[in-house]
C-alpha cells in the first residue's frame, strides 16, 4: 500500500554511561498490529518513552508520521493527535468513574453556565466504551471495575477524538496487569482497533502474545534492532533465538555446587497469589535463582519465605539446621529471615533516616544498654563496621541514605540483612537501578556470603543476575516451577525459552 504510518530511523539514546538505544529503525505500516518485543532491559520502554516525548533522542534521529517529520522529545500538537499511548500503568484515577477519566484528557461538556452536562458526558463515554462490549458502568469508580475493563477505559481514553484516520495506538505491555483469562478479550479489542483503520504498536515481552495477535514483529535486544519479520514466517523457536541471541560464553560462570546437598531451607506446597504449589530446596552455599515473566509469580517467592507477603498464603517451610519442625507459610515471619526487597525506595530504605539508622533498624534489640537505653557508640561502631565490610561509599553513618547512589543504598540494605547472620538470604531484583561497577561488587558480595555457607535466593527478572550468580535457576511459569536449569546449562537462550515456554 502506501508508506508506513510511523517511521523512526537512526534513533539512539544514551543515559550516562549506558547506551540504551543504538541506531534503532522502526516502521509501522497502515492497518497492522506491529509488535515490539525484547527481553527486560532491551530498550523497549526507552523507545516508547521517546516516542511519547518523555525523553529526548540523540541528534540525528528521524521520525515521520505519515511522511511528515516530527520532533522526537517534544510533545507537538500534530503528533499528539496521531500517536496515542496506553502506558503500562494505564494512567487512570481509580477513584473516578470512566466518564471522569475520559474527561481528564479531553475535557467536560459544559453548559453556558459552566456546569457539566452529565447526560451528554455519559452518552459520549458510553459510545466510546460500548463498542468493546464488557458492559462497563461508566458512572462507577474504576477501582471497582475488573482489570480488563480498566484497560478498555484506558484504550477508549487514548482513542477519543480520533478522527478515524491514519494513526498509531501504542500499547505498552497492556497484559502485564491482566489476569490470564482476560488476555484474549483484550486481544479482540486490539484487533477491533486495527480493523477500524488504525495501526497498533504493541509492546510486549511475551512471545505467545506476538503469535496470537501481531502481524509483524520487531525484535530489539541490548538497545539494537535485531530484526523485523512477518509473524507468519516465524516459529516460537526462531523468535526466541532472535530475542535471546547466540549462546555466548560468559566469563563469570559459577561452578556447579559440588559435594552433598546440605539443605538450609525447604519449602513445600506454596500457594500465594499466582503461585500454585511451589516446592523448593536450598542447600548450604547454594545460589539459587528464581525467575519468570511478569505475573508468573516468581517475584512473590522471597516475600512468602520471609513472611512479608500481604495476601493469603498456604504451604510450609523449615530451616533444617535450626529445627526439624515445619512452619506454616503464614507464620513464616516468625523464622525472621531477612529480605532484600524489590523496590528499594518504597520497601527497602527509610529515606529520612541516615545510613547508620537504616543499617541498624532490625538490629536495635542487640544494642540495648542499661534502662532500655540505646547504646549509641556500639550502634555507630556496628554501622561503620558493616559500611566497611560491604564497601558502602558514604561520608559516614550519619549521612542521609538518600545522598547515596542506588547501588550503595542496596549495599546498605544488604549489609543490614547480613548483619543478622541468617542461614538464608533472600534477594529480590538485587541489581535494579544499580550501575555496572557496583553490580559486580554486589555479585562478589553475594558470592562471598554463599561461600561462607549461606543459602542465597536470587529472585530476578534480569537474566544477567542469574547468569552471573546462580548455580541453579528455577523458572516459574503460570505459578508453577516449569523448569529447573543448573550449572553450565544456565544460558540466556535456555532461560528465555523456559520463561516463554518454547522448549
Amino acid at each position: 500500500m502506501t508508506g508506513p504510518v510511523l517511521r523512526v530511523a537512526a534513533l539512539s539514546k544514551r543515559f550516562g554511561g549506558t547506551q540504551a538505544l543504538r541506531d534503532v529503525d522502526l516502521e509501522v505500516a497502515h492497518g497492522e498490529i506491529h509488535a515490539l518485543i525484547g527481553p527486560n532491559g532491551s530498550g523497549k520502554s526507552t523507545l516508547i518513552k521517546i516516542l511519547a516525548g518523555f525523553h529526548h533522542a540523540e541528534p540525528g534521529a528521524v521520525a515521520e508520521l505519515d511522511g511528515e517529520p516530527f520532533d522526537l522529545g517534544h510533545v507537538t500538537g500534530s503528533r499528539h493527535d496521531r500517536l496515542r499511548f496506553v502506558h503500562q500503568e494505564l494512567g487512570l484515577v481509580g477513584e473516578l468513574s470512566a466518564i471522569d477519566n475520559l474527561a481528564l484528557s479531553h475535557g467536560f461538556a459544559r453548559t453556558a453556565f459552566g456546569n457539566i452536562r452529565w447526560p451528554e458526558m455519559e452518552r459520549r463515554t458510553t459510545a466510546l466504551v460500548e463498542r468493546f462490549g464488557l458492559g462497563i458502568d461508566v458512572r462507577r469508580p474504576l477501582a471497582t471495575a475488573t482489570p480488563v475493563q480498566r484497560a478498555v477505559v484506558a484504550i477508549a481514553a487514548a482513542l477519543q477524538g480520533w478522527d478515524g484516520g491514519r494513526g498509531v495506538l501504542v500499547l505498552d505491555e497492556p497484559t502485564a496487569v491482566l489476569p490470564p483469562g482476560e488476555v484474549a478479550r483484550l486481544f479482540d479489542i486490539v484487533r477491533e482497533v486495527r480493523d477500524a483503520g488504525a495501526s497498533v504498536l504493541y509492546v510486549s515481552h511475551r512471545m505467545d502474545e506476538i503469535f496470537a495477535l501481531a502481524d509483524r514483529v520487531t525484535v530489539i535486544r541490548g538497545g539494537r534492532r535485531i530484526a523485523t519479520r512477518r509473524v507468519a514466517e516465524l516459529t516460537p523457536r526462531s523468535l526466541a533465538e532472535l530475542m535471546a541471541g547466540e549462546e555466548t560464553e560468559t566469563d563469570h560462570r559459577p561452578a556447579p555446587s559440588a559435594g552433598p546437598a546440605d539443605p538450609v531451607l525447604e519449602v513445600r506446597g506454596l500457594w500465594a497469589g499466582p503461585l500454585r504449589g511451589v516446592d523448593l530446596d536450598l542447600a548450604r552455599g547454594e545460589r539459587l535463582g528464581i525467575t519468570g515473566l511478569v505475573g508468573s509469580g516468581h517475584e512473590i517467592v522471597p516475600y512468602v519465605v520471609c513472611g512479608a507477603h500481604a495476601g493469603p498464603v498456604s504451604g510450609r517451610l523449615r530451616l533444617p539446621e535450626r529445627s526439624e519442625r515445619w512452619t506454616e507459610a503464614r507464620d513464616a515471619g516468625a523464622l525472621g529471615l531477612p529480605l532484600v526487597p524489590a523496590d528499594r525506595a518504597v520497601e527497602g530504605v527509610i529515606g529520612d533516616f541516615s545510613v547508620g539508622e537504616n543499617l541498624t533498624l532490625p538490629l536495635l534489640h542487640r544494642l540495648r544498654a542499661r534502662a532500655g537505653r540505646l547504646h549509641r557508640r556500639r550502634e555507630s561502631a556496628l554501622a561503620q563496621d558493616w559500611i566497611r565490610r560491604v564497601g558502602v561509599r558514604t561520608a559516614g553513618p550519619g549521612a542521609r541514605i538518600t545522598t547515596l547512589s542506588g547501588g550503595n543504598q542496596q549495599k546498605v540494605v544488604m549489609a543490614r540483612c547480613l548483619a543478622q547472620r541468617p542461614p538464608v538470604l533472600a534477594l529480590c531484583e538485587p541489581t535494579a537501578g544499580v550501575d555496572v561497577a557496583t553490580r559486580l561488587q554486589l555479585y562478589d558480595l553475594i558470592e562471598r556470603q554463599a561461600d561462607e555457607g549461606m543459602g542465597v535466593i536470587v529472585c530476578s527478572s534480569d537474566t544477567q543476575d542469574l547468569l552471573a550468580l546462580c548455580t541453579r535457576v528455577l523458572v516459574v511459569r503460570d505459578g508453577r516451577i516449569a523448569r529447573e536449569i543448573s550449572g553450565r546449562d544456565i544460558t540466556e537462550p535456555a532461560l528465555v525459552h523456559a520463561m516463554e515456554g518454547t522448549e
Binding site: A176, D343, E347, G433
Partner: protein, 376 residues
C-alpha cells in the same frame, strides 16, 4: 560536604557521647552547625522577639514577672503539645487530645465536688477515663484502620458528648477544687515557678529519652517515615501506633487535671484553645534541633517562643486579635524558613502518596515487579 548539616542536625546538643566516633577536627564545625539558624532558628527568632518587646514595652516586658508568666502560663500548653509528639513521630494524628483534656478536667471536678471523692481517687478515675480513650482511639485507628486524622476527630466528638453529659455545658466549681491538696497540684511554687513547669520538664525529658535514646523511639520514627519498610525490618508498626495513641491520651488527660487544679474549676471547653497551639508547637518544633523529626525539646522551644510572643503582645497592645495572628504567622514563617527539609512536607508527602501507593503496594500480589518499570 552536603551531609555536614544533616550530621550535625542529627545530634541533639546533649549527646556528647557520640562525639567520640567523629574526627576531632569536625568538632568545631559541628558546633557551628549546631548553632546555625537552620538548626535552632527558633532561638534566634525568640531573642529577636525578646528585644523587640523590651523596646516596645520597656516598663512591663523585660521583668522577672514576665518570665514567670511565660513559664507558668504555658506549662499546660506545653504538656498538650508534647502529648501529640509521639503519635506524630509515628505519623499518627491525635486530634482528640483537646477533648481528652477537657474530659479529665471536668471528671476530676465532678468526682471531687459532687461525688465527694478524695483527690487521689478522683484523679485515678479521670486518668482511667483517659486511658480508655487512648485504647478506643487505638482500636479505631489501628485495628479498624481508619485514617487517624478523621478517626480522632470522630472520637473527639464522642468525648465531647461525654463532657456535655457530665457538665450540661457549664463549668463545675466547688471549694474542694480550691482546697489545698488538689489546688497544690498546679499552684505550689518555688520562687514563683509553679509545679506544672516541673511536669513539663519531666514530660519533655521522658519523651526526649524515648525518641532519642531507645530502640522504641527509633522504631517510632521508622514507622512514621516509611511504615512498609519498617514492617519488613520486623518493626511492629501497628503496636507502636496503638501505644502512641494511649500515651497521647494519658498525657493530655494529665494536662486536663493540671488545668483543673490551676484554674480551680472543671471547664467543658478547657482543652479547645490548646489544640491548634499544640500542633503549631509540634510542627515548629519539628523544624528545630532534629530537622525533620518531631522532637521534645524543639516542641518545648516552640511553646516558649509562641508563649513569649503572645505574652509580649498582651503587654504591649490591648488588641485581642494579636495572639492568633502571631501564632499563625510564626507557624508559617518557621515552616517556610526551614525550607523543604522539614517534617511537615514529609508527613504530607506520605499522606498524598496513599492513593498511588494503594495501586503500587500490590507488586507482590498483582505480579508487577517494580523492576519492569525501571527498565531502560
Amino acid at each position: 560536604m552536603t551531609s555536614t548539616p544533616t550530621r550535625a542536625a542529627e545530634l541533639p546538643p546533649s549527646a556528647p557521647q557520640r562525639s567520640a566516633v567523629f574526627v576531632p577536627g569536625a568538632l568545631g564545625r559541628r558546633a557551628v552547625t549546631a548553632l546555625s539558624f537552620r538548626n535552632i532558628g527558633a532561638v534566634y527568632v525568640w531573642l529577636v522577639i525578646v528585644v523587640l518587646f523590651s523596646v516596645w514595652a520597656p516598663d512591663t516586658f523585660p521583668t522577672i514577672i514576665t518570665v514567670k508568666q511565660v513559664l507558668n502560663g504555658n506549662a499546660v500548653a506545653g504538656l498538650v503539645a508534647l502529648s501529640v509528639v509521639p503519635p506524630l513521630a509515628a505519623r499518627v494524628f491525635d486530634l482528640s487530645v483537646a477533648y481528652t483534656m477537657s474530659l479529665t478536667s471536668v471528671l476530676t471536678a465532678r468526682f471531687l465536688v459532687s461525688a465527694g471523692l478524695g483527690p487521689g481517687a478522683a484523679i485515678t478515675l479521670a486518668m482511667t477515663a483517659a486511658l480508655l480513650i487512648g485504647v478506643v482511639n487505638g482500636i479505631v485507628v489501628v485495628v479498624l484502620r481508619v485514617d487517624s486524622f478523621i478517626a480522632t476527630l470522630a472520637t473527639g466528638a464522642l468525648i465531647q458528648s461525654l463532657i456535655t453529659m457530665v457538665t450540661n455545658d457549664s463549668s463545675i466549681t466547688g471549694v474542694q477544687l480550691l482546697a489545698k491538696p488538689f489546688a497544690g497540684i498546679a499552684q505550689l511554687d518555688a520562687g514563683g515557678i509553679t509545679l506544672p513547669v516541673l511536669y513539663l520538664l519531666i514530660a519533655a525529658l521522658a519523651i526526649w529519652f524515648l525518641l532519642e535514646h531507645t530502640a522504641t523511639g527509633r522504631r517510632l520514627y521508622a514507622t512514621g517515615f516509611n511504615a512498609d519498610a519498617a514492617r519488613l525490618q520486623g518493626v511492629r508498626t501497628d503496636r507502636l501506633r496503638f501505644l502512641t495513641l494511649v500515651a497521647s491520651a494519658l498525657l493530655s488527660g494529665f494536662a486536663g487535671i493540671v488545668f483543673a487544679s490551676s484554674v480551680g474549676s472543671g471547664s467543658p471547653t478547657a482543652g479547645t484553645p490548646y489544640l491548634l497551639s499544640a500542633y503549631a508547637a509540634a510542627f515548629v518544633g519539628a523544624t528545630q534541633l532534629r530537622a525533620g523529626r518531631f522532637n521534645a525539646w524543639g516542641t518545648v522551644l516552640a511553646v516558649l517562643l509562641l508563649g513569649t510572643g503572645i505574652t509580649g503582645l498582651g503587654l504591649a497592645t490591648s488588641a485581642q486579635w494579636a495572639a492568633s495572628l502571631f501564632t499563625g504567622s510564626v507557624l508559617i514563617v518557621a515552616l517556610v524558613l526551614t525550607g523543604g527539609r522539614i517534617a511537615l512536607p514529609a508527613v504530607l508527602r506520605r499522606r498524598k502518596g496513599i492513593p498511588s501507593n494503594a495501586g503500587a503496594e500490590a507488586p507482590t500480589e498483582s505480579g508487577t515487579p517494580p523492576a519492569t518499570s525501571k527498565e531502560i
